[in-house]
């Protein structure tokens, strides 16, 4: 074989055999490795001693071809079937004849259920330690979702359970359903892709991942690490509704809400319309009763106040005062009468005293009172002049006289 130039150029390209040989050398550099994967396909060709396996990554849409001698398979995994988890010791090989790549295994071990469960337990501890199950990470579900994203198997009982029971509780509910394989080697990557689609849909505000019951192996995709991390990273709240009451895939721990079954999920994602109506109705009745009782109480109170004499009979205000006035008038009259009576008495006494002082008794003794025409009582002779007219009062009657001679 000729030694090739270290670099290939357009003028001097490498022949296929050279490239092929170089590729083979590169691939061989990886050496022997232990690989974990899931058997997607197995073909035992009759008459051939070589068995072909398609080995998938459980979490991603990637696969490799594995070749093994029938003896290798019979020694490590005689019952090997599609879907089984295997650990194998292999070396990558490049087949120049077809330019294909495969792993050649010299040891294949089927991973048993016990080992799978032990792996799950380790993964669970790891995720818990990372805080993926923490209560404070859980997002609240909307009281009434705008649109529910549903990830479930096509025409599955789980799909029917979720749709029917949710609509029964809230007929107007809106779904966006994405059907995905819920078991087998392609389940996880497809579920993760669909989850992303729903998470990016603005109208979807809660996502339900539903699957009916199955064997522990069947439910393995729902404990897949990549799926758990995708659910944990989703912005939309995720409800896990996998299997039966007793099943607890890791998805249950990482989901924002764990529903025991698809039917239970329906109960958790929407309120019961009839129940809510009843609550509102009873609240309305209580509201009515309360407000009407309040109105009645207040009405009675106002009526009672209005019927009190102080408001109902304002004339009392006047009558009271009219009575006061009458009484005062009465008192005034009485007091006036009293004073009049006293004045009367005084008068009588005065008259009596007047009478007692009367000159009549003196006149009886023969004295007379001489008065001038102007009424002046004459006490001295020089108080009169000649021809003055005088009045002379006697005990009995009076007479007139004329002064004939007055002193000069």
């Amino acid at each position: 074989m000729t030694q090739p130039e270290p670099r290939s150029t357009a003028e001097e390209p490498w022949p296929v055999r050279v490239v092929s040989q170089k590729l083979g050398a590169w691939v061989a550099k990886l050496g022997w490795v232990w690989v974990d994967g899931q058997v997607a396909q197995i073909s035992r060709r009759p008459g051939s001693s070589v068995v072909f396996l398609t080995l998938r990554d459980p979490s991603a849409d990637l696969s490799l071809t594995v070749t093994a001698h029938r003896d290798v398979l019979d020694a490590g995994a005689p019952e090997l079937a599609e879907g089984a988890r295997v650990t194998l010791h292999a070396k990558p090989e490049f087949y120049p004849a077809r330019g294909s790549l495969s792993l050649r295994a010299d040891e294949i071990r089927q991973v048993g259920l016990g080992e799978l469960l032990a792996r799950l337990e380790r993964l669970k501890k790891l995720l818990a330690a990372e805080g993926l199950f923490a209560r404070e990470r859980k997002r609240r579900l909307p009281f009434l979702p705008n649109r529910i994203g549903l990830l479930t198997g096509r025409a599955s009982a789980a799909e029917r359970d979720v749709l029917m029971n949710t609509r029964r509780r809230w007929p107007a509910v809106d779904f966006r359903v994405i059907n995905v394989p819920v078991q087998g080697p392609t389940a996880v990557p497809q579920i993760i892709d669909a989850l992303k689609v729903l998470d990016n849909d603005e109208s979807v505000d809660v996502i339900v991942i539903a699957r009916g019951g199955g064997s522990v192996e069947d439910l393995l995709p729902f404990s897949d690490e990549a799926l758990c991390r995708a659910v944990s990273g989703a912005r939309t709240p995720v409800v896990s509704a996998i299997g039966h009451e007793t099943d607890a895939p890791l998805l249950d721990y990482v989901a924002d809400l764990r529903a025991s079954t698809p039917t239970d999920a329906a109960k958790r994602i929407v309120p019961d319309l009839a129940e809510e109506r009843q609550l509102i109705e009873s609240a309305r009745r209580r509201l009515d009763r309360t407000v009407l009782a309040l109105l009645d109480r207040e009405t009675h109170r106002i009526e009672a106040w209005r019927s009190r004499p102080s408001l109902a009979r304002p004339e009392l205000l006047i009558e009271q005062r009219a009575a006061d006035v009458a009484q005062l008038r009465d008192r005034a009259v009485r007091s006036l009468e009293h004073r009049v009576r006293r004045a009367d008495d005084d008068l009588r006494h005065t008259v009596a005293r007047l009478r007692a002082l009367s000159p009549k008794s003196t006149l009886q003794r023969g004295y007379a009172i001489v008065q001038r025409a102007d009424g002046h009582v004459v006490r001295a002779a020089d108080e009169v002049k000649t021809d003055d007219l005088l009045r002379v009062r006697l005990a009995e009657g009076e007479l007139s006289a004329t002064v004939t001679e007055a002193p000069t």
Partner: protein
């Protein structure tokens, strides 16, 4: 605050005060009459509130039964 903007409770509280003053006595006749007139007005305001509340309840109920 004008009478139109009195709340039910304000009118009711004032009404209670008016009645108490009327019943205690000691006011002049003019004052008493003014108090009584005020009391009547306040009682009317209270009544209007209560009647209005009932009407609103009836209206809401009628609207509800149309749903």
């Amino acid at each position: 605050m004008t009478d139109e903007t009195l709340s039910y409770e304000q009118a009711r509280t004032e009404l209670a005060g008016v009645i108490e003053r009327l019943e205690t006595g000691g006011s002049s006749l003019e004052e008493s009459l003014a108090l009584w007139e005020r009391g009547e007005l306040l009682a009317d305001i209270c009544q209007r509130w209560l009647d209005g509340a009932r009407e609103r309840i009836e209206a809401a109920r009628a609207a509800r039964s149309e749903d």
